[in-house]
């Protein structure tokens, strides 16, 4: 049984008890506890079930590397799965649940997998379930999905808020242990802007727990002094609870600050994702202890030796009355010392080395602890908790020499520097044979744009394993006494000659249930690459990304392949270092701020008048305006009829407006548009088509010539920014010597269409300009005043009706709209939305960019040859259009379509042809591009692209329907209404 010790706990505030629940059971901890230490302190050793075999699991580690203690935290909008108990600080009222078990943690049906584990070896998905094929989808996968898995997915929207923060620094130091503190101090003293971050809530890292002595005093004192010094420096910022997530190109680093996880607050940001640009990154990320691979090393109560002393020293938690220490190095002896000093028993230190010696070993011996050398653990006794260890010879095959009763096992297989951040952006590693670990290769650092290293690594992360070495490596002025230590002896399986029975109980990856036997099997089956073995066995693929398992796993693999460890190499280290919340990545981009929503000056009016919205780019435009008890379809039909018969009001503000000015403006527009713009007279408008270099139609709109040097180009709503960028690109890269300036003035104007037979009356009622046929002809524009507001009126029409588009400064847009709406009441004016606009133009056979075009359609396909100048030498797209495929007479071309029965064709429907293609699909000969019920004609009308369409007038073609049947439609001219244009020329 684990328990809280009566004294000690350097991080605890025993004056403040905190209540929490685990699986609904009430427990008590203290301020300063992590959830892990509080659970152990409350006697809760069993914390979860393993992923595949559902074996009982307890805490192994005390920090970010913990593989087992993943819990569901919170509920409802704050529910979050897979949270590590070791990195979750305790707070009053915390509610945690263990994962991956049914019906309960203590009794889990899924543990049956454990007893059939020989049927679930590495790659069992691919082997066992391959045949019969359909069984995978319908039988095996659902079963495996139910039995495997860790936390539940949240069901509710995240109730918390998150944010980003951007900073630029000279020097970012990641890791607040003694190495990071020393490096930060050094950089700060050199006058650099320094940001120092530490993932936990405490400075100093392992040094205080491990009894480091710096400048003759305990590490805690040096840490406190150094932190105070740094806090007092103007060029230094320091943050705890802030983890280095990833290092990217150009000194870009993400850091994850957990603002309220330790003290939830509904109104404050929970996490802050720091986006840092650093001239230099110093990683001081320490090292992680490795487990030893012996049978039963996953039984609750088997922990890392360093974690055992963390729990004893930091949180006054006893892992059990009697702890056996198993090691291949001197460092684990510190755990024996810490346990003895806390008044706990250490029945034995089992050291795989034959003749360990050194001050730590001697000290443990002097404390009266039995030290067994050349020995190993054959097996851990117990299932849900450690009951003892069977001791054997490390050199042998596992014959049991003696069973030692104990409650816990502290294991140490040596240390691995945390090289993740060094590696993210290309830093390479070297294998250090003497210390049996990979450490950063100083010759192969991540390099920046200048080819120079921008990441430096210091301390244990760089392979400096004693206090003195760490301080020296970090360039500290502080000193520590050199320590003598015996060499480590690499032990990758224990005992070295263990047979299959033992190897199949030696866990490498606790979280994904990967054992020594699985990696060996993969090697036997021909997996030589560590990356392939990883994916085949799932070693290191869990949420802990193999922090404990990777090195042990690849060492086992290298043995199996008879290769050296550095030859086998490591898997790739990728960000994030530990998982971070999706909320922090999204930051502000959620809810109303998920995307910017663009509003016209009349947005509020539309909202108040029944607008049914349609997204157009980032804009919202009224699709139609719903009157009481009206369907969307009815509203659209009413709006079209009213516009044809009376007058309609349209918010056209979203259309792009680009001013093009300069002596070469006409020449420039002649290149941009397919037709001639330079001949346009000031005061007049002309419709133009714009193609890309391949000859495909890109945008269209009306161009107005303002004066000799100045044109105003209207674009589609979605095309404004793109067309402006297109213009600038050509001006800046190809025609840099042409004298042309452009400006996108879309947002400076509100633009209002007054459309229909009574349009002129409405303008006259508002008053101020003569817009008579004589004063303003079709395709004229004029500046003037309407209702006292300065306006520019364009007499253009996209509906075939008498129509004026009125531009006014955006700040007056609503005022003009209100005046027009008021004046129009007398003549039956109604606003209309985008769908009515579409029907009005389709009745007239006008094309719409994005409906009739999709990036593969030329103006010629749309029979717009009249808008392609034959007189010009060149325009963008001209050469593209001359290519053989684009001049092919077989191309699908624009026609009108009239259903034989008057029904409405389905949008995007295909015109079917004889026969079937190689895939057994029906052959096609065209498709519908626009289709509507025309209220004007009382029938369905459509436009479509049909093979040789214009040559086939009157022919009846069949169109697909989603119900599998077809509809017959006649090929007709695309202009369904008023082909002579009489209505707009009044």
């Amino acid at each position: 049984m684990t328990t809280r010790l009566a004294r000690g706990g350097r991080l605890l505030n025993r004056g403040r008890a905190l209540e929490f629940t685990f699986n609904g059971k009430r427990m008590t901890g203290y301020q300063g506890d992590t959830l892990a230490s509080a659970l152990l302190g409350a006697g809760q050793r069993l914390v979860g079930r393993s992923f595949k075999y559902h074996r009982p699991r307890g805490l192994v580690a005390s920090g970010a590397e913990e593989p087992n203690a993943l819990v569901n935290l919170g509920e409802g909008g704050t529910f979050e799965p897979n949270q590590r108990a070791t990195t979750q600080e305790l707070y009053d009222g915390l509610a945690a649940e263990s994962q991956n078990h049914w019906p309960s943690l203590e009794f889990d049906v899924g543990v049956a997998n454990n007893y059939v584990s020989r049927f679930l070896p590495a790659g069992f998905y691919y082997k066992t379930f391959i045949n019969p094929r359909p069984a995978w989808k319908h039988l095996f996968e659902p079963f495996i999905r139910q039995s495997a898995g860790l936390g539940r997915a949240p069901k509710e929207r995240d109730a918390d808020v998150y944010e980003h923060f951007h900073v630029h620094v000279d020097c970012l130091v990641i890791g607040g242990g003694i190495a990071g503190l020393a490096a930060a101090l050094k950089a700060a003293e050199a006058g650099r802007e320094v940001l120092l971050i530490e993932q936990t809530a405490h400075w100093g890292g392992r040094a205080p727990v491990d009894g480091a002595v710096i400048d003759g005093a305990e590490a805690d004192a040096w840490v406190k002094n150094t932190v105070e010094t740094l806090e007092g420096m103007e060029n230094v910022r320091i943050r705890t609870r802030c983890m280095g997530v990833g290092v990217y190109d150009h000194g870009y680093v993400l850091a994850y600050e957990r603002l309220t996880d330790h003290d939830p607050h509904p109104d404050l940001p929970r996490h802050r994702l720091w986006k840092i640009r650093a001239s230099e990154v110093i990683t001081a990320t320490g090292a992680l202890e490795r487990p030893l691979s012996f049978a039963g090393n996953d039984v609750p109560g088997v922990m890392l030796a360093s974690a055992v002393r963390d729990y004893v020293v930091n949180w006054a938690v006893s892992p059990g009355d009697r702890t056996v220490v198993v090691t291949n190095n001197d460092d684990a002896y510190r755990t024996a010392i810490a346990l003895k000093e806390a008044g706990l028993e250490v029945p034995a230190v089992i050291d795989a080395r034959t003749a360990p010696e050194g001050p730590l070993v001697e000290r443990v011996r002097a404390l009266g602890v039995r030290v067994e050398t050349g020995r190993a653990v054959a097996k851990v006794k117990g299932r849900a908790k450690v009951e003892g260890v069977a001791m054997t010879m490390q050199a042998g095959e596992g014959a049991v020499l003696e069973v030692i009763d104990c409650d816990a096992v502290a294991m140490s297989g040596g240390w691995s520097p945390v090289v993740h951040l060094w590696s993210h952006c290309g830093g390479k590693l070297v294998w250090d044979d003497a210390q049996a670990f990979f450490r950063p290769d100083p010759e192969k650092a991540p390099t920046g744009a200048d080819g120079q290293p921008f990441v430096r690594v210091v301390g244990a992360a760089n392979g400096a394993m004693t206090t003195a070495d760490v301080l020296a490596d970090a360039g500290a002025d502080a000193q520590a006494a050199p320590e003598a230590a015996g060499p480590i002896e690499p032990v990758w399986i224990m005992p070295q000659g263990a047979g299959p029975e033992l190897r199949s109980k030696m866990w490498l990856d606790y979280q994904n249930d990967v054992k020594v036997s699985d990696v060996q099997l993969a090697a036997r089956e021909g997996y030589e690459s560590v990356e392939h073995t990883k994916r085949y066995t799932t070693l290191g693929m869990a949420t802990d990304q193999g922090k404990l398992s990777n090195i042990n796993g690849l060492a086992v693999l290298s043995r199996s392949l008879n290769a050296e460890i550095p030859q086998v190499g490591t898997t790739t280290f990728r960000p994030p270092y530990t998982p971070i919340s999706f909320g922090s990545i999204a930051g502000q981009a959620r809810g109303d701020m998920f995307q910017p929503l663009r509003r016209t000056p009349m947005h509020a009016w539309h909202m108040a008048n029944g607008a049914h919205w349609e997204p157009v780019g980032h804009w919202r435009r009224p699709y139609c305006y719903l009157q009481p008890a009206e369907t969307v379809e009815e509203a659209v039909q009413r709006e079209v009829k009213n516009t044809r018969e009376a007058v309609g009001l349209l918010d056209a503000s979203t259309l792009g407006k680009i001013v093009v000015k300069g002596p070469d403006a006409g020449r420039f527009l002649d290149m941009l548009y397919t037709n001639m713009m330079s001949t346009l007279k000031p005061g007049r408008c002309r419709y133009g088509l714009m193609c890309n270099e391949n000859g495909f139609l890109m945008d269209d709109g009306v161009v107005a010539r303002i004066d000799e040097d100045t044109f105003l180009c209207h674009t589609t709503t979605g095309g404004a920014e793109h067309v402006h960028a297109h213009m600038e690109e050509w001006l800046q890269t190809e025609w840099w010597d042409w004298q042309v300036y452009t400006a996108n003035v879309t947002e400076h104007y509100a633009q209002i269409g007054v459309v229909g037979p009574h349009a002129r009356e409405v303008l006259d009622l508002v008053g101020g300009m003569d817009v008579s046929k004589e004063a303003m002809a079709f395709m004229d524009w004029q500046d003037g005043e309407l209702g006292g507001l300065p306006v520019r009126v364009f007499r253009i029409s996209f509906s075939g009706e008498l129509s004026y588009e009125i531009a006014v400064k955006a700040g007056y847009g609503r005022a003009l709209w209100d005046m027009l709406a008021e004046a129009g009441r007398e003549v039956g004016m109604m606003p209309y939305g985008t769908e009515a606009l579409h029907i009005l133009r389709a009745e007239k056979g006008f094309i719409m960019i994005g409906d009739e075009t999709d990036g593969t359609v030329t103006p010629q396909d749309l029979c717009l040859d009249w808008a392609i100048s034959k007189k010009k030498d060149d325009y963008i797209g001209k050469r593209g259009q001359a290519r053989s495929h684009l001049t092919d007479p077989e191309r699908w071309k624009l026609v009108g379509l009239e259903t034989v029965d008057g029904s409405v064709l389905e949008d995007g429907a295909y015109a079917v042809a004889e026969g079937r293609n190689a895939n057994g699909q029906r052959n096609v000969q065209g498709r519908v591009t626009s289709t509507y019920r025309s209220p004007t004609l009382g029938r369905g009308i459509a436009m479509g692209l049909i093979r040789r369409g214009p040559e086939r007038m009157g022919e009846v073609v069949e169109f697909t329907r989603t119900d599998g049947t077809t509809t017959r439609a006649k090929i007709v001219q695309p202009v369904f209404f008023d082909p002579e244009g009489e209505k707009q020329n009044v």
Binding site: Q595, L597, R599, A810, G811, R814
Partner: protein, 189 residues
């Protein structure tokens, strides 16, 4: 003639920084060769302030702001914009340039407070440190997902210029970035 209205009718919000949409503002875009004497002279004479260096502005109001290597933005009273355009056209007769009244194209917010800089740094990837953005800086950047410009009036007062259509988005962003209690404490002044 009625008065022009801004996108949000002059919204204000009190967070850890004060956020206030500014009244209608005259803005004149000027594109031209900024290194040429006639353009420099015309800009300075019409604005009444000197031509700013890159990423800077000159004068609080009227002001000239550096937008691009060939572009300035003149800030003035709303009612004066048309006259400024006319004056530029007059001064630059025969010189290739583009001068336009764009007063209504944008919204302007003023963000003030000891930690105003931090609220902005939550939204823009630009370096917002006092050293990188001293008073007099005019920085074009993005704020979350929209283009914006930041005008540093002093160490605790900034103007944010964005397109008018996204004024509401910008207001929401600024409010969310300045939740009381979410000060970062990075550049305390």
């Amino acid at each position: 003639m009625s008065d022009p209205v801004t996108a949000l009718g002059g919204m204000t919000a009190d967070s850890f920084a004060d956020i206030a949409e500014q009244p209608p503002r005259g803005m004149v875009l000027l594109r031209g060769d900024l290194s040429s004497a006639p353009v420099q002279r015309a800009a300075a004479e019409v604005a009444g302030v000197t031509v700013p260096a890159p990423n800077r502005f000159e004068g609080e109001m009227p002001a000239l702001c550096w937008m691009a290597p060939d572009e300035l933005l003149l800030l003035c009273d709303y009612d004066e914009a048309a006259a400024k355009v006319a004056a530029l056209a007059e001064a630059l007769q025969g010189v290739h340039h583009l001068a336009l009244d764009v007063s209504d194209a944008r919204a302007v917010f003023r963000v003030t407070g000891l930690d105003a800089r931090e609220a902005l740094a939550k939204l823009t990837p630009a370096d917002m440190s006092p050293a990188a953005v001293p008073p007099g800086t005019f920085r074009r950047t993005r704020m979350a997902q929209v283009p914006a410009a930041i005008r540093a009036l002093d160490d605790t007062a900034f103007e944010i210029l964005c397109f008018r259509s996204v004024a509401q988005y910008m207001a929401d962003l600024l409010i969310s970035a300045a939740i009381p209690g979410s000060e970062v404490g990075y550049w305390q002044t």
